[in-house]
């Protein structure tokens, strides 16, 4: 009898669930996992929307392209500027309808389809207990004779790896390939993605790892470890932003709009720093957590528009490949 009541309870619970509208958001795995910002964002949004928000994870853009207009997604979150050109060309996304003037990014943002929700910059992270005098500029990193070993990500398989080759291109232009040749002996190895690189760095295998200016915040806030620092270069750092967009064919247009509006609220933005270990895209610095306010950040921010990045991509990757294959 007990079981029967339990089953009946389950049944009625799922029936009420079926009546509430569902908002489906495609997101990268790290975003929606227990350790990402996803769950707390879901809870916060569901408080007011009287809906059921569901994250579906995986390769967001690959999947949307394969699904085409039949996609179940109402909103996507977690795009990077490196894929927005392709995403825009599919015609699967419509205007986000938010006011870009609310943004607090270090660059101007005028895109009306892709809405930034957090940002960071590429940076090399080192351990102060192991490296006593880190290079003070990118030039010094390239030309120094000290035996610094770096782990980086492959630009062909990783977003941060791609940002790195664009970073080098933005600083050195035509000299990029020569710079890569000088860097080559310092590069211990190249990995498929960020996790493998950061794992190697954490094990003490390399002196510096390609990561983000915001990475030290995790170690400070969660581990109380002050020894991981980003080296800030006067030449500037490459800007990395994550974006959300509304799917044109959504069957929940009002809910999708409501969610995009929610992204710009203080409530959402305050979940970002400790959820995604990034800087909120629409929150004044005075409202960031203290550890984030105190992070050393670059004064100069380098960034290619999606058109420029797309036209440079193939050649910069090829320069990188040639220089490192010698």
């Amino acid at each position: 009898m007990k079981y029967f009541t339990f089953a009946a309870g389950l049944l009625s619970a799922s029936m009420t669930l079926a009546q509430t509208p569902t908002l489906i958001i495609y997101a990268p795995d790290y975003f929606a996992s227990e350790w990402g910002p996803g769950p707390s964002i879901e809870a916060a949004f569901e408080e007011s929307c009287s809906c059921d928000l569901q994250f579906k994870t995986g390769d967001v853009l690959s999947r949307i392209i394969l699904e085409g207009a039949n996609t179940q997604a109402d909103v996507v979150i977690g795009f990077n500027t490196d894929v927005t050109k392709k995403a825009r060309e599919t015609g699967l996304f419509v205007a986000h309808g938010q006011d870009n003037a609310q943004l607090t990014l270090p660059i101007d943002w005028s895109d009306d389809v892709f809405l930034p929700f957090n940002y960071s910059h590429t940076a090399f992270i080192y351990n102060t207990e192991k490296v006593s005098n880190p290079p003070s500029s990118f030039d010094e990193l390239v030309n120094s004779n000290t035996e610094l070993s770096l782990v980086i990500q492959d630009p062909r398989s990783s977003i941060s790896g791609l940002a790195l080759v664009l970073w080098v291109k933005a600083i050195y232009g035509d000299q990029a390939e020569a710079v890569w040749e000088k860097l080559a002996p310092k590069i211990l190895t190249v990995t498929k993605g960020w996790s493998e690189s950061y794992g190697l760095f954490s094990e003490g295998e390399a002196d510096m790892v390609l990561s983000y200016t915001t990475s030290p915040a995790y170690h400070i806030m969660v581990e109380g470890d002050l020894s991981k620092k980003a080296v800030i270069f006067p030449e500037g750092h490459y800007f990395m932003v994550e974006l959300a967009a509304k799917v044109a064919n959504t069957d929940m247009p009002e809910l999708a709009d409501a969610f995009l509006g929610f992204i710009m609220t203080e409530r959402f933005q305050k979940l970002i720093p400790e959820g995604n270990w990034s800087l909120p895209a629409a929150l004044p610095k005075s409202q960031w957590p203290r550890a984030f306010q105190e992070l050393p950040l670059p004064e100069k921010v380098l960034f290619y528009s999606e058109q420029q990045a797309a036209s440079l991509r193939k050649d910069t990757i090829e320069e990188w490949r040639r220089a490192l294959s010698k």
Partner: protein, 502 residues
Amino acid sequence: MAPRIVQIIASVLIGTFVILPLLAVWRQAEGTNSLGPADWSALRFTILQASLSAVLSCVLAVPLARALSRARFFGRDLIIKLLGAPFILPVIVAILGLIAVFGHNGWINLGLKSLGLGGFSIYGLHGILLAHIFFNLPLATRLILLGWETIPKERLRLSQSLAFTPVSRFCLIEWPMLKTVIPSALVVIFVICLSSFTVALALGGGPKSTTLELAIYQAFRFEFDFEKAAILGLMQMCLSLAAAYLALVFALTDQLGIGLDRNIHFGSLPIWQNIVDGVVIMLALMFLGLPLFLVLVNGLSSIASLPLPIWMAALRSVLIALGATALCLLIALSLLSRSGEVLATLGIAVSPLVLGTGLFLMARPFVNPFEISLAVTLLVNTLMALPFAVRILRPEMIQINANFNRLSLALGMSRLGWVRWVVWPRLRRPLGFAAGLTAALSIGDLGVIALFGDAERATLPLKLYQLMGSYRMEQAAGCASLLLLLSFGFFWIFDMWGRRNA
């Protein structure tokens, strides 16, 4: 052994789940890029590293299997079981384990430095080979060891009473057996290494070590060029099938006759032989055991503090593994023929990325792919383990047929009796090994769940990646230890069951 109709069904099933996904991806044709010089050099490098990995793993496995087959010492069974473990680790865990031993600050380099000797770098082609041997030496050893166990003991006794020199014993008895076992071991290892990507890149030290799988990944995730991905996937599959076919041509069946199927004690071996065997086994144990031991110890203390979702994911992984094991053995038993061996190779011949995407495309018109992601994972794990299961079971089945078919015909044995009294007791040992391998492989596989999972359906390896992706390296280490314990535990249980009374 299975009725013809079952064989046909199994073959059609495999064909459907391997060829159709490839075609489904191809049909997405949105391709703009043709294959460039970088792709061709990736192809060359892929073949080079896969061939070298396969040959070296098998060459090193011969002395090890030989030592294990004749040495008798306390802990021998334990070592043979341990030999299943490295093969089944998620690559990222294995890389970190190898780095802890062979890396810049690894044990070997620290040892060399304290002796005042120069450092040693793991990064390069030799690093890739080291990792691939680490993954595949145990498998090759176990496959060859099974071969050793099929040599009729009478033949060894005969060689003893004829006072064969070690050389003539090798040429006349062991080599004919090796010729039947090694080609198929070479093929599976070659085919697994073809799709190596994370290991090849990280330990290869950079873009010199680009494999086809990286090109497929790039075409998928960054260029959205599905046609190119399908073409590259097809190239990979052709290579695998060509290798599998070649192996069949070269794998001659053992024609030296049959034995009485019993155990004979040979007395003790000469002392020098015991020493050589001991050294070989010790070296292998250190090479394979140390990285695993370090992974295990590194995370052991964090296991107890792992949060509930990790345990739920672990449970999910175990259930998938058990399902995959049952299905895999069922299909493998109906594919114990020459053509079955080639067919089974298809399971690992297609890039998991292409396979996963293809299945996703095929399922989409009928069901919501998210709903069936766990079932698809189970199916893909089954396909992945199939080539190994078939190769483990087939040599024993050939021996059983050769040894007992005539006798059972003469006795007028029923089909049921044949299975119960002849096949079952003898096939049980390889069956246990195949089951253990499938279960462990399935627990450690990240696979297609990463392509279209969702938060509520994550498996343990996916959780491990999520933890690493959000800086939680300590919990990830705990997760890796748990994964190692689970996959090894299941391997152990099945293998034990197979070896009991065997």
